[in-house]
């Protein structure tokens, strides 16, 4: 369990409506600091500037989808140890198993409840080594 509480979360998501809901949920309900990225190709830069505690990735995104971005993160020393949570609307069990194997912290399926999301993230955070 990490020593400090979960505070800084970066969310990569192309759907601006969901972005907004997640931001409000985490800020208002969870009292966290949130950065959202609409363009996954810009994600690396945001990670470097924002220095998040935890990253949330949408699965389905144009150009660069969540799993692909995740693999890129694993290749870079500065992002390889960032905990990653996937948000997905459609993922088969083998897909999820593969992500687990690659080192994803957890997956949260859409639709999620914005009321419970901060609590879910904190539970995941608490279970991290």
């Amino acid at each position: 369990m990490p020593e400090r509480p979960l505070n800084r979360v970066c969310y990569v998501e192309d759907d601006e409506d969901i972005q907004r809901i997640v931001r409000m949920s985490l800020e208002r309900v969870g009292k966290m600091t949130v950065a959202v990225v609409s363009d996954p190709t810009q994600a690396m830069q945001t990670f470097a500037e924002f220095k998040p505690d935890l990253v949330m990735l949408d699965w389905m995104m144009p150009v660069l989808d969540g799993p692909a971005l995740f693999r890129q993160m694993k290749l870079r020393p500065e992002t390889s140890s960032l905990p990653v949570v996937f948000i997905t609307a459609r993922a088969s069990q083998p897909d999820l198993d593969e992500l687990k194997l690659l080192g994803a912290a957890a997956t949260i399926s859409k639709p999620f409840s914005p009321r419970d999301l901060p609590e879910q993230l904190r539970a995941i955070w608490a279970k991290l080594p």
């Binding site: 409506d17 809901i21 949920s25 609307a89 859409k110 639709p111 999620f112 409840s113």
Partner: protein, 602 residues
């Protein structure tokens, strides 16, 4: 040399065939019938014997009387007449008899007695009268005896022993009288008598054999004719049957051809080399070719060029295995170039030497069906993703507003956003349930069963349904079960539990208690969820696990739910080798239960 050997060969074979014919005749002629034929011949000659005896006897009586032995001659005449009458009676009896064949031997015996009697009556005359007669009369009598003995040959020729008896009856007393007469000439004549007798018997013997072989031949010929007729009749019968069979085959052939011609599926008859020999109307319509354009050409005309190699492989396999193949999906170009996908069944026709003589190919156009399947898959995927994504935003936004973190809203606005959230959730549940049912029914649901402690499972289900309990003001009562484990798919079992717990919560009275209990049930573990609700209405019990069923439609509006929940539960539990059911509780309410295996079963 060659010629002679050929001639010899021919003679040999002729001899062999003669012997064979004799054997054949013996086989085919029944001895009893041949005997009966001979007996009939003997009886046919009897009138001659009787007539000759009577006439000769009358002449003799006339010639010999007028002397001192007049009374004796008359007595003799009476004996002859009596014998003749007895013989006539025998003849009459024989002709009246219905049983001439089986008792032929008896008739022969009676005839032998009659013949002996006949001969002996002449012998009597010789023995008694001869000595006392004048020389002329003696000559007359000797002549008469010789004549009578000779007459016996044709009369009794069909049985030489009878002739021998008859002639012995005449000649033996005469021989004795001549021998003992005391006259050298008479002794010499007497010595000629046995010779004369022997010659006659030999002649009779030969004649008997001629008769016998004649009758045998006649019988064999009759039998042969009979056999021949029977054979002919059988052949004729078989010919009629064959003709009938041919007609039936023709009729069923016509019927089959009609079936193929009118069938809605494409039917092609192909030769073993892949040449099309016949096509039906449906095939013409389907591929847009006239029959004449396909017949005589290769079937590959109906296969895309890039698949020709695959076609050849399959074709060779078909010819090798000589077994029907079905479910072959082949891309068939139509005459206008548009591809169809057809599902083919190909059946090789094999002759009695196990050679393929033709292949019948039946094709069904499944293009539209495959397209429909693809669209259904696409639709399911769309439902899954494209509907859930916007719902995430809708429900999420409403949840945030309703949770109050965005600040206070007016009471009536709040009520409306709650209605919107609740119905958004219902829509989402419905979509999830439909997807689940679709997945289960198409057999695409993969289960990952494992051993799960019952206690942990129920605890987790209770946590997941806390919101329901709060909303309907219901308490879940679980006493714990540290021992039992069940073998099931964790996620899907939680789905079942959630369904049952939320149902129980929904239908419980305000402030009610939902009891959860576990128990052993044979090799299974039974989990039961009991409420104090209104119970299951009588008319609803039969279809409670059906699709889109709810006890009444107001419940749907008030309590939510898609009406698919229990149908999904039933299918999931059954997929996990268990069973599910419900009972009405004494004192009101209902218990829903399911049983699942304690451990992995094959």
């Amino acid at each position: 040399m060659n010629h002679s050997s050929t001639a010899n060969g021919t003679a040999d074979s002729l001899e062999v065939s003669t012997k064979a014919v004799e054997a054949e005749i013996r086989d085919r002629s029944d001895p009893q019938h041949v005997l009966a034929d001979r007996v009939a011949q003997l009886y046919r000659q009897m009138p001659i014997a009787i007539g000759a005896t009577f006439i000769a006897g009358a002449i003799a009586t006339f010639e010999l009387q007028g002397r001192w032995l007049k009374e004796l001659v008359l007595i003799w005449w009476a004996v002859v007449v009596t014998f003749s009458a007895a013989a006539s009676l025998l003849l009459y009896a024989y002709y009246r008899s219905a049983d001439k064949v089986a008792s032929a031997r008896d008739w022969l015996r009676w005839l032998a007695i009659a013949a002996l009697g006949n001969g002996a009556s002449w012998g009597l005359a010789g023995g008694v009268f001869f000595r006392s007669l004048s020389d002329e009369q003696q000559v007359f009598l000797a002549f008469l005896f010789a004549g009578m003995a000779s007459v016996g040959i044709p009369v009794y020729a069909a049985s030489w022993p009878i002739f021998a008896l008859y002639a012995a009856g005449i000649l033996l007393p005469f021989f004795y009288v001549l021998l003992t007469f005391g006259n050298r000439l008479f002794v010499e004549i007497a010595l000629l008598v046995p010779l004369f007798y022997a010659i006659n018997v030999v002649i009779a013997y030969r004649l008997t054999h001629v008769f016998e072989s004649g009758y045998r031949l006649r019988r064999a010929y009759g039998k042969l004719t009979q056999d021949h007729q029977a054979l002919n009749q059988r052949l004729e019968g078989q010919l009629v049957e064959l003709e009938e069979a041919r007609r039936q085959v023709e009729a069923s052939g016509r019927k089959l051809a009609l079936f193929a011609e009118r069938a809605p599926i494409a039917v092609l008859e192909l030769q073993p080399d892949g040449t099309v020999s016949e096509v039906n109307h449906a095939a013409e319509m389907l591929f847009g070719y006239a029959a004449a354009e396909l017949v005589g050409g290769s079937a590959k005309k109906l296969v895309r060029a890039e698949f020709h190699a695959e076609f050849d492989r399959t074709w060779q396999e078909l010819l090798r295995k000589r077994e029907s193949m079905s479910g072959l999906k082949i891309r068939n170009p139509r005459r206008d170039g548009i591809d169809l996908i057809c599902d083919w069944t190909v059946t090789p026709l094999v002759n009695f030497r196990q050679e393929v003589i033709a292949v019948i190919a039946q094709g069904r156009d499944v293009t539209a069906q495959l397209e429909a399947e693809r669209m259904k898959k696409e639709f399911t995927s769309t439902l899954s993703h494209e509907l859930r994504t916007p719902l995430t935003s809708i429900i999420g936004s409403l949840q945030l507003i309703n949770s109050g973190v965005m600040g206070k809203v007016e009471r009536e606005v709040g009520e409306l956003t709650e209605v919107a959230e609740r119905n958004g959730q219902r829509l989402l549940d419905l979509i999830n349930d439909i997807l689940d049912i679709e997945k289960i029914e198409s057999g695409k649901l993969a289960l990952a069963p494992e051993l799960i402690p019952v206690d942990a499972l129920v605890e987790e289900a209770i946590v997941l349904n806390k919101a329901f309990a709060e909303r309907f003001n219901v308490r879940f009562d679980w006493r714990g079960d540290p021992q039992r484990k069940i073998f099931a798919d964790r996620k899907r079992l939680l789905q079942v539990m959630t369904n049952l717990l939320s149902n129980a919560a929904k239908f419980s009275p305000e402030g009610g208690v939902v009891e959860i209990t576990s128990a052993d049930a044979g090799g299974n573990v039974r989990l039961a969820i009991s409420d104090r609700g209104g119970g299951i209405p009588e008319g609803f019990r039969g279809r409670i696990f059906g699709r889109f069923t709810q006890a009444d439609s107001t419940a749907t509006r008030q309590k939510g739910g898609s009406g698919l929940g229990l149908a999904i539960c039933k299918r999931l539990i059954e997929l996990m080798q268990g069973r599910i059911g419900f009972d009405n509780r004494p004192g009101g309410g209902s218990t829903f239960w399911f049983e699942l295996p304690r451990q992995h079963t094959a």
